[in-house]
Subunit: 342 residues, 2 copies
């Protein structure tokens, strides 16, 4: 029987431990895995495209464990009361190929994306950053806000979304977190005075949400929403001017903001920066960009974390057969009556 971590299980985990704590704990797992980057067998995710969105599978292994995430990205979904991004995943043992855990990964994707964003900001943003512009106030925005409050000491948020109701929802949800919030009327206004600019928009288009005149010297841009071929958020001149950090280069070349640049444009690798091999930022006035598209290792870390903090979930699934004799799979469907229909 396979342990199953449900949406309710992850919800309860967050309620009991606190969102900030869960994001921070998860960030330790993500950092630990990025620090052993070369142990992983990495590949680009598979992608099946519809006109309305994409379904991706993200496999990875470290020789001992395997994981994959199923995740979709369908911006029109919210118009029908459905999530833009839904996800689930499995952690398995490489030696046997058997799954060890099936888990929800929708809430967890929001958690791990926020944790990864904040980890990246720790090595790219100026240490004195206190103000963050948050462009896109949808499903992931609370997670980003709280991750940056708890992992980066961000105390002031400047919010903008084309959907005013989304911003109002975010303000209401953050009301008890002690964050100074300013609602802005444009992206440009939100970026004014921001030390960090986080973009988490969902449009599947070559959008240019952040243009050069909006970005002040020394800004760190945390570009979360552009994560698909043909989907970007940042103007090409901003990307060109910035020190760009990537998770897994081949995937980011195809899906990230740097899809706008030549294949040999300079980048630094998140794993190298975490390991102090390269610098994420070299000067106070530099513009830095975390060109985040999300990588399988972050889901691998998340599944490891969930397995550790929810070791005995309430539900066990009858997903893999357990015949008494492994070569007698048929015993599970033995027919008691003589089948002589032919």
């Amino acid at each position: 029987m396979l342990p199953f971590i449900s949406v309710a299980d992850v919800s309860a985990l967050i309620r009991h431990r606190g969102l900030g704590t869960v994001v921070r704990e998860l960030s330790y797992y993500i950092k630990a895995d990025f620090l052993r980057w070369n142990q992983f067998n990495k590949c680009e995710r598979t992608a099946n495209h519809a006109t309305t969105g994409v379904i991706e599978l993200m496999p990875i292994d470290d020789g001992e464990y395997f994981s994959f995430k199923y995740v979709n990205g369908h911006p029109p979904n919210t118009a029908h009361g459905m999530l833009t991004v839904a996800a689930f995943g499995v952690l398995s043992q490489m030696s046997t190929g058997y799954p060890l855990l099936l888990s929800e990964l929708t809430l967890t994707t929001a958690l791990r994306t926020a944790a990864t964003s904040a980890l990246a900001a720790q090595v790219q943003a100026r240490a004195d950053s206190v103000t963050m512009a948050l462009i896109g106030n949808g499903a992931q925005s609370e997670f980003q806000a709280i991750a940056f409050r708890d992992m980066m000491a961000i105390r002031k948020l400047r919010l903008y979304d084309i959907d005013v109701a989304a911003t109002q929802k975010l303000v209401a949800n953050l009301s008890t977190f002690g964050i100074d919030i300013t609602i802005c009327k444009s992206v440009a206004e939100a970026c004014k005075g921001a030390d960090i600019v986080t973009t988490v928009t969902a449009d599947k288009a070559l959008a240019t949400i952040i243009t050069p005149e909006m970005v002040e010297p020394g800004t760190h841009i945390n570009a979360v929403g552009g994560d698909c071929p043909g989907k970007t958020e940042i103007h090409i001149d901003v990307v060109k001017a910035a020190r760009v950090m990537v998770e897994f280069e081949p995937q980011t070349r195809a899906e990230g903001e740097i899809q706008q640049l030549p294949q040999n444009s300079p980048v630094v690798h998140f794993s190298d920066v975490l390991a102090d091999i390269t610098k994420g930022r070299v000067s106070e006035g530099e513009i830095t960009l975390f060109d985040s598209v999300g990588f399988a290792i972050e889901d691998f870390s998340s599944l490891r974390y969930l397995r550790d903090v929810i070791p005995n979930p309430a539900q066990m699934l009858d997903l893999i057969p357990e015949p008494a004799n492994a070569k007698d799979l048929y015993s599970l469907c033995a027919i008691k009556y003589q089948e002589n229909r032919v």
Copy 2:
């Protein structure tokens, strides 16, 4: 909540309808999907290799539905009481990216592999075939035997396995099916007088189980076990001499028996043969080979079939969040107390 079809559900389906019926019904779904081959968005499966085996993800979509299968292949597992092959999969809606069904696919893989083998034999084996050699008497052998009894009128089986206990198990399981069984002491003996030779062995090696002198003119070879780079069952000269039919050519070039031949060796496509565009066999004396490695479309068909025959499974999973407001994912983990730890 996501419908979940468990191992027990598929076991019950087989017990209630009969294995032969389920395999035949499933073959109609598989045939229908192969007949609309060009509607599918196809890709090779991902593969994460361990020294003991491999974990694969097999995605596919037809524009309306998406499916993937997770499947492992770990021959050493049986020594520890575990299955060589375990699998599960998901059917999803392309327009929303949401999963519609999670199902066990271990039993179902045995069903769909047998159904596909028998479908292939219908278009490649001689119509008067009555005797089949079954080399490899492990977990999949009963499914092959009954599929060929019910879909090809095979009445005589000649069995061989290096594991005598496996053969004894198969004989016991088939005792009520009215099949004339001969236990053989070698592969060569099993092949004698066989109209069809089915190989379902599991070794992850370039094995040559079937050599030229064993194969009589007019034989159809159903090669099920060689399905991985570096894993074959049939001697290169047998493959060269045969009319070879493949499911999805790029995958079979890498994983099938034809990995032993040049990349441009002649093959015919299963979908073309089913559609009567090409012939699976052109003469009575010809040797034909179904170089089966298993393709995602067969699992897609299986999930469609399971959804139709088990429309309301007993278990529903809390796998995908359902917040009242799709942009308010955070509502599912709202913290009731002021979190002011920082």
